[in-house]
Symmetry: C2
Subunit: 165 residues, 2 copies
């Protein structure tokens, strides 16, 4: 199965994430901005996700919480600078569990059509500093991302089978 | 008079802007988010500024247009990820005159109290790529910024004189 590719050059303040999904672009895009779909795949399997708000439009806000089995809560929030379906979504991203507020990244997700109804997703995350970027890498983002994308693979496959019925 | 300091290291994807203003922090902060004040200083003197929207709150949107004497219009827009008065404001920024949409930067403005009622402003702008960052530098941003900050100096001085009357 395709793995998520994560590039974080030493000394840079960005992370570039790519993955190819075996589903048409409109569906992959939809799975990223529709709360009913997002809640089925975003985050590690052992966490429960709650979406407090998700306004999928340019200027809209979002906030969600991941809760572990001991009840610990991890909140995230941001705003959508632009949602240009099915091409791209540009948003801010802040993890609420950091020691101080105001550490924010800018995420640009681009969805590219490939032959045979496949889709290439490229996410560029830029951070306010190299230290912030390195902090995100050290938080084992890559493992969580891979698990999320595996779940998204499963969801996309299930949605396409439903559609064919 | 204090000049605006602009740092753009080769190969990096950020611009760091600093300037010290001879005014208390609350007032400098207010001048950045109150449309009635912002319109008096932002941009070169020869352009006319129109604020279409400015919602000074976390999650709010903004859009303004600069018009030159020939009627050419230059639009800019973004959203406020966070407004934490009088400490910081974090927003997205997009110039609408670029050949393609979706080139966005993340601007973090921090306002620091100095002795004698002075204020240090530090703006960190991070771009989606080094090329985008270099494009902004080549657009002679530094000249426009210096002129804006000169105008802001004048405004802050006038506002403080009014207050003392």
């Amino acid at each position: 199965m395709a793995k998520t590719n994560v590039i974080a050059e030493p000394g840079a303040q960005e992370i570039i994430i790519t993955r190819i999904f075996d589903a048409p672009r409109e569906l992959v895009f939809q799975a990223h901005i529709d709360p009913k779909l997002l809640i089925k795949w975003l985050g590690p399997r052992e966490l429960k996700m709650t979406i407090e708000k998700l306004e999928p439009r340019s200027g809209g806000s979002w906030r969600y919480i991941h809760t572990d089995k001991d009840g610990n809560k991890f909140g995230f929030h941001g705003i959508f600078h632009e949602i240009a379906a099915p091409d791209r979504a540009i948003q801010t991203f802040e993890f609420e569990g950091l020691p101080e507020k105001g550490h924010v990244s800018l995420e640009t997700a681009r969805f590219e059509e490939l032959p045979n109804s496949k889709t290439k997703l490229t996410i560029t995350s830029v951070f306010q500093s190299v230290a912030d970027r390195d902090g995100m890498i050290q938080a084992d983002m890559e493992r969580g991302l891979n698990e999320s994308h595996e779940r998204l693979d499963e969801l996309l496959s299930a949605l396409q089978k439903e559609k064919k019925r």
